[in-house]
């Protein structure tokens, strides 16, 4: 019955909806992490579909670093108008005014994101955090489970993950343990963009190519998004047509030169280009296997 065969996007969508419904049914206090990125946008859209015509059975949580792009904060405000959204900033980060310039990318990410997420989850008592991570992003994620159990210290033990057979998820846990749930596990970057195109989803405009003030650092274009950006001696922002493949803290997100001005352009560019999306992330290159270490500590 070839005519009834579902496309790969429809199959991925149906699988993700199944996973989202399982989290909602089997955990006591789930939350969906929302980072305003394209994957978050897809995840939120899938959640709306999963529980239609009802509302989302869990709040959204943004673990803020205060250093996101302004366009991302605008996107967050739009989501907050429609859904319950919690913004959490690690009090340690605020007290010490942690930033990428004085503290370096590693400490900045650890304090705001890794520790911020850990604190937010335990303060609110969430027992399942739904995230948009994909297995194709990075090698250490290739073995990640869809329901990934974390110790009471929210650590990820790669040797102590449960086998996942068929579409059965073992959601049992001890008090204090929690789950990270990844409904987009089987999606690739290309799937995400094709889905955004097919479903006509709103995305942060920074994904499209446009003229932005940028400086060249570590082989990437860094955008000067506000006056807090510290320039090195001799560094002068220049206007370039760039776009972002991933979005994070603006001083740590590298842009690529591109003329892709629509989702269709972006898809064409990904198919033709030969660089992976995490290339623009400065944190991956801190140390060898740095993502694996960050994961064990509780980074998404």
């Amino acid at each position: 019955m070839a005519s009834k065969r579902l496309s790969h996007l429809k199959t991925l969508e149906a699988e993700s909806i199944h996973i989202l419904r399982e989290v909602a049914a089997e955990t006591a206090r789930p939350v969906m992490l929302y980072s305003m990125g394209k994957d978050s946008g897809v995840l939120l859209h899938l959640a709306k579909k999963a529980f239609f015509p009802g509302k989302l059975p869990f709040p959204l949580l943004h673990v803020d670093t205060t250093w996101k792009f302004r366009d991302m904060y605008a996107m967050r405000d739009a989501a907050a108008a429609e859904h319950e959204l919690i913004v959490y900033r690690n009090p340690d980060g605020e007290a010490k005014n942690v930033n990428p310039f004085d503290h370096g990318s590693e400490a900045h990410t650890t304090i705001w994101k890794t520790e911020g997420l850990r604190k937010a989850l335990s303060e609110f008592g969430f027992d399942a955090a739904i995230g948009g991570a994909r297995r194709d992003e990075e090698k250490s994620r290739a073995k990640e489970r869809i329901f990934s159990i974390r110790s009471e210290h929210q650590r990820w033990d790669p040797k102590n993950q449960r086998p996942e057979l068929w579409s059965l998820y073992n959601t049992r846990k001890r008090a204090g343990e929690s789950f990270r749930v990844f409904p987009l596990s089987n999606w690739t970057e290309l799937d995400v963009w094709q889905y955004i195109e097919a479903e006509n989803l709103p995305i942060v405009p920074l994904y499209y190519s446009a003229e932005h003030p940028v400086v060249r650092r570590s082989g990437a274009w860094i955008m000067v998004d506000d006056a807090r950006m510290r320039l090195e001696p001799g560094e002068k922002p220049e206007m370039r047509r760039v776009r972002f493949r991933t979005l994070g803290c603006y001083p740590l997100s590298g842009a690529v030169e591109s003329n892709a001005a629509s989702v269709a352009d972006i898809i064409r560019e990904i198919i033709e280009s030969n660089a992976s999306e995490r290339q623009g992330r400065l944190i991956d290159s801190d140390t060898p296997s740095s993502m694996e270490k960050k994961k064990q500590e509780g980074y998404f």
């Binding site: 019955m1 009834k4 065969r5 579902l6 496309s7 790969h8 996007l9 429809k10 199959t11 991925l12 969508e13 149906a14 909806i17 199944h18 419904r21 399982e22 909602a24 049914a25 579909k49 999963a50 529980f51 239609f52 015509p53 009802g54 297995r135 194709d136 090698k139 250490s140 290739a142 073995k143 790669p158 040797k159 993950q161 449960r162 086998p163 996942e164 057979l165 068929w166 579409s167 059965l168 073992n170 049992r172 846990k173 001890r174 596990s185 089987n186 690739t188 290309l190 799937d191 094709q194 195109e197 097919a198 198919i271 280009s273 030969n274 660089a275 992976s276 290339q279 296997s289 694996e292």
Partner: protein, 615 residues
Amino acid sequence: MAAEKTLLRLVACGSVDDGKSTLIGRLLYDLGTVPDDQLAALERDSKTVGTRGGELDFALLVDGLMAEREQGITIDVAYRYFATEKCKFIVADGPGHTQYTRNMVTAASNADVAILLIDARKGVLTQTRRHAYILSLMGVRQVVLAITKMDLIGYDRAAYDGIVADFVSIASTLDLPRLAAIPVSGVSGDNIASKSAATPWYDGPTLIDLIEGAEPREADRNDQPLRMSVQSVVRPNLDFRGFAGRISAGSVKPGDAIRILPSGRTAKIARVVTADGDLPEAVAGQSVTLTLDHEVDCSRGDVIAAADAPCEIADQFQATIVWMSDTPLYPGRRYALKIGATQAHATITDIRHGIDIETFEPNQARQIEANGIALCNVSLDRAIPFDPFEQSRELGGFILIDPDTHETAGAGLIHFALRRAHNVHWQALEVDRDAHAAIKGQRPAILWFTGLSGAGKSTIANMVEKKLHAMGRHTVMLDGDNIRHGLNRDLGFTQADRVENIRRVAEVAKLMADAGLIVLVSFISPFRAERDLARNLAREGEFYEIFVDVPLAVAEARDVKGLYKKARAGELKNFTGIDSPYEPPEKAEIRIDAAAMSPADAAEKIVAAIGGGRT
């Protein structure tokens, strides 16, 4: 690249060192899915940790975790993604190490098609047999046999043909109906993306063409009757009540007659609701929300099925179990079972036999160790809807969860029901005596312990109860002393009161047996007539008179409660054995020689005599 592709799930399996990671890495490389920056990392890593003397080591593209890169082996299931013009592939990379059968089973669980690697220099190994067995067991019907490292045997056709023939002969006893073989080399790329000039004698398709030609499993599930496990009830307001789930088989459209299982109630589909609007029809693989034409009881874990072709309902199965926990599986232990969106408590009542997955022969097994596979009888605490695994992975495959550690301890594949629940397909279940017993998955019984005071009735009864409880049986103990403190506290020790005492206890025991329980009654009950009264209230074959037989002298010597002493001193009247007779049973089902037998042995004998409470 077309946006509309078919999603195919592929499992790659092979022994250690037969080049699986290299082959997958090569597939990714040849399809142009390795980005430049990863390629640069590959070139760098090939020089430092590569095993190919600085040449590109494709295995490094897929061997992810630090630990295993250092150890040089793959230790867990990893997932890779690549796409061709027609298909998106999800590759589950199943490790080949002997002790990782569980990973192989996990990797194969969702696969539509498998690539099974054989090292051309080594031929069919015991591990090849193991992989072939698991693919057959897990229902992976489309298998591509890739004979790797052909470059290392000089592309020798005769050697290739010999290996293929060896494999075909072992596969003949397995269920691998769609088998193709191909000579390849991951290192030099022969026959992976394009036909190799080195194997002019091979006239089949390339490896990529072979896997692209596979069928997704959904394709044949559309022709089956409707099945959908209900994940949740969607009730946003009083006017809407829908049942959310993913269709695992068949199709559904408004007006279709459906049956809700296990209740057996029927209704018609009103709407097939999605966020993109109502659908005229939904098919296997889609996640939808169904509304019905009238209010019917239906909740998470129920199955919505075609009314005229519903799935079976049972609480006892024969199933193949694959054990994954380091703590072995023992019969009698209780596990949480998860199947579809349903959960139940499960006990393995019997290991029929283990399976040697190298010879495919049955063997004797009293327990199942990690990575062991066995054919078992499984008993649940309630009846659930299911389909045989051969028909449905979704309603025939289950996991067993250890109730203490919460680990996923094993996986199971249902073959058939050992006992079907009655009539449930055609009418809502009558909640009768049999239904009560069925939900417990046990045979109700009344174990009536009789004997002199101090014979050891309560001690033995307690041990019996503990044993039954450990087997997952639901029991209740009616102890003489305790009943007299509550229900019968208005009764004394006159002849009439003693009869009434026994009558009440017999009635309570019967009610509880009707509720499906195994009732243990520990009463001196010295008179035959009283015991016969209790026996006559119970159902045929349900009443066990257990005579805990001990000479008066022995009981009196024990005198745990000091009662004989009091009776001898005349402080206690009508004391059985002293100034009131004990009438020994003439037709006791079980006699325990309590002077010669330890209480533990006695308990064992009794549990065996009632068949462990099994149905």
